[in-house]
Subunit: 210 residues, 2 copies
């Protein structure tokens, strides 16, 4: 078995963390870089990541997460948020970032900005928010691979009350909504889930060749 398949088999949705073990600054930076480098539609990155360190806040969010212990016990916890609406300044800043990063004249790429505006502005607002939220799932998939490679445990979670999170973190006023939660850290030695065999469909069931 090669290293990649070994890594991906090693990972599992950790149920119980060892609250005494912390992720090193270097590894956590790699996790943040993995999220930052994650691709998104048009490259717009309509996302924001809230790293919750405050203990009281974690306790409060745990209540809105069906009291799952990962929220408070994991070394780190990130709320993946996406933009509700994409506004003109968001696209303009992106175009400026392209021009700066690639030392291009802004006049030469402004057409790309106009194209995105023409595509995005007429979109139904619910569809747009939903499209933005999907970009968070790409980042999640990428970072889970990164964690497996680093041998850092992670728990992706959809089981939380997003409206309560939005309220507690004051997200709506910032044009944001909470999409996913992910806990990061190290499994407890008595996490029964860690010894369970991974259940997946077979390649024959999942893949069709045409």
């Amino acid at each position: 078995m090669n290293k990649i398949i070994e890594d991906l088999n090693w990972r599992y949705a950790t149920k119980k963390y060892d609250a005494t073990k912390k992720i090193s600054a270097e590894d956590f930076n790699t996790i943040k870089e993995s999220l930052r480098l994650s691709p998104s539609s048009f490259g717009l990155q309509p996302l924001k990541y809230i790293v919750v360190e405050n203990k009281e806040l974690r306790e409060e969010l745990k209540v809105h997460s069906f009291n799952q212990s990962q929220i408070t016990d994991a070394s780190h916890m990130i709320v993946f948020c996406s933009l509700i609406d994409i506004k003109e300044n968001h696209i303009d800043q992106y175009i400026e970032n392209i021009a700066k990063t690639r030392s291009q004249e802004i006049e030469k790429i402004v057409g790309f900005g106009d194209y995105m505006k023409k595509e995005i502005f007429p979109m139904d607002k619910i569809l747009l928010a939903n499209w933005n939220s999907k970009q968070a799932y790409i980042a999640l998939g990428q970072v889970l691979h990164t964690c497996a490679n680093l041998r850092v445990d992670a728990t992706p979670m959809e089981g939380f009350k997003a409206d309560k999170y939005d309220e507690v973190l004051g997200l709506k006023e910032q044009n944001l909504k909470s999409i996913l939660v992910c806990a990061f850290g190290y499994r407890s030695s008595d996490d029964l889930n860690s010894s369970l065999k991974k259940v997946r469909k077979s390649q024959d069931e999942l893949f069709v060749l045409v």
Copy 2:
């Protein structure tokens, strides 16, 4: 820079493929395993991957993909599909798979199946289809990391006419819809995009610490 960050900086959405270069069977198997091992909500894997090898079919799909050359020139091309509806047999088969994989008595896990049914069956059908589609984005994020690690180029694509794909591939009748397309292969030496600097927001813009 560590290997992970190096890999993720190496990757980009390949615009032009070298049509003469093919991915080895071993690497393509790793790509398939990465998709297969990708996590999903409840572990339900409401997904199907269509690997399109047939040249005529690729030509036909290219027309429905704004004539983007990656569809025909890349070594491999996969259409990520998700289930439209999750039916009783889907959940039952999953429960049977858990029992078989973990040598557990089915009576002991049937409660998990009942729980999923109680959560999923009353869901609005559009929301359910949408939720299923998000699982494809997790798999996409994971497999792009895998490809970067393998130094296989990839192009995630949302720019295709999903309804036409569904028609050509006969997906609706199979309770499936096309969500994403991803091309896999090796960049052409004259792909101008390969030399462009990656544009991303800074960590300061993306991360908030609370």
